[in-house]
């Protein structure tokens, strides 16, 4: 057989095998997943995100947060995820049915964010942390995302949204730092990160 034909068949075999394993089989396993509706309350889980939070998800994707942050709580057995307080139960496939693409992540240079909205529910904290990570966590290797903020001259009483910054992070006298629409959306997304609900396949231990 011609060498090119062999090469081509090798490529084809590799890609078809990967496609079956990574696309076809998961499609059969998870493709039909529906939200879980609580019969008593009529609530549907996972909850839908607001439009602003959905925009924030795109900011999250565009800024590569996924390179350092995962969004998956692994089973209690042999992992410290729950002991660290990152989540109350393990994550399951159904948690991600509205995420296109999902942002599970593969690295934990920073902490897992599956429940960022539950663990860190203060909007101002997120803005100050994104603007100056080391001001909230000494020695942090998270890069500051200052371009998501605007430094502007203080008009009158100043903006109610101005960040409270200290020492070297503070803007010059007479100026203030305010979030751009992107920063607002991103923080709305972070606050929406919440897997604190029971699913039949992954119950909260309180039930």
């Amino acid at each position: 057989m011609n060498k090119l034909t062999t090469l081509f068949c090798g490529f084809l075999f590799t890609f078809v095998l990967a496609w079956i394993g990574l696309v076809l089989v998961p499609q059969f396993q998870f493709g039909q997943l529906q939200p879980f509706v609580n019969e008593d309350t009529g609530e549907s889980f996972p909850p839908m995100r607001s439009g602003l939070a959905e925009t924030g998800k795109q900011v999250y994707q565009a800024n590569g947060c996924i390179y350092c942050h995962s969004q998956q709580i692994r089973p209690e057995h042999q992992t410290a995820d729950m002991a660290r307080g990152w989540g109350a139960r393990r994550s399951v496939a159904r948690d991600y049915i509205y995420d296109r693409p999902h942002l599970l992540g593969t690295m934990r240079t920073g902490p897992d964010l599956s429940n960022a909205g539950v663990r860190l529910s203060n909007e101002a904290w997120h803005h100050e942390h994104l603007y100056a990570p080391q001001s909230k966590s000494a020695g942090s290797t998270m890069p500051p995302f200052r371009y998501l903020y605007k430094v502007q001259k203080i008009q009158g009483a100043g903006s109610p949204d101005a960040l409270k910054l200290e020492a070297d992070d503070a803007p010059p006298e007479g100026y203030e730092v305010v979030p751009t629409p992107d920063a607002r959306a991103l923080v709305a997304y972070l606050l929406s990160l919440n897997q604190n609900y029971s699913l039949p396949e992954a119950k909260l231990s309180t039930e």
Binding site: L4, Q78, T79, A80, A83, R84, T109, G110, P111, S137, A138, G139, S140, T141
Partner: protein, 73 residues
């Protein structure tokens, strides 16, 4: 200092601290591989433009063995 990452008493800030030497190493290796890629791209273009050799035989990749033998003789 060196503790297992699945040990919950090993604080996350301790883990961040422990990654730093590795992050520095990755920066250095990243620069090295970038230089390698650029060198490769440069030679690849030279090869495509047949600037690679004085006799200008062009790409040897996927060339038939006999024509390669001819070229080298």
């Amino acid at each position: 200092m060196l503790q297992h990452p699945e040990n919950p008493t090993n604080t996350f800030s301790n883990i961040v601290e422990a990654t730093k030497p590795w992050l520095r190493g990755r920066t250095i290796s990243g620069v090295l591989i970038l230089v390698g890629h650029l060198a490769f791209a440069y030679h690849f273009v030279l090869m495509l433009l047949k600037f690679g050799r004085a006799d200008g035989v062009g790409p040897t990749l996927l060339a038939k063995p006999e024509s390669a033998a001819e070229a080298s003789s």
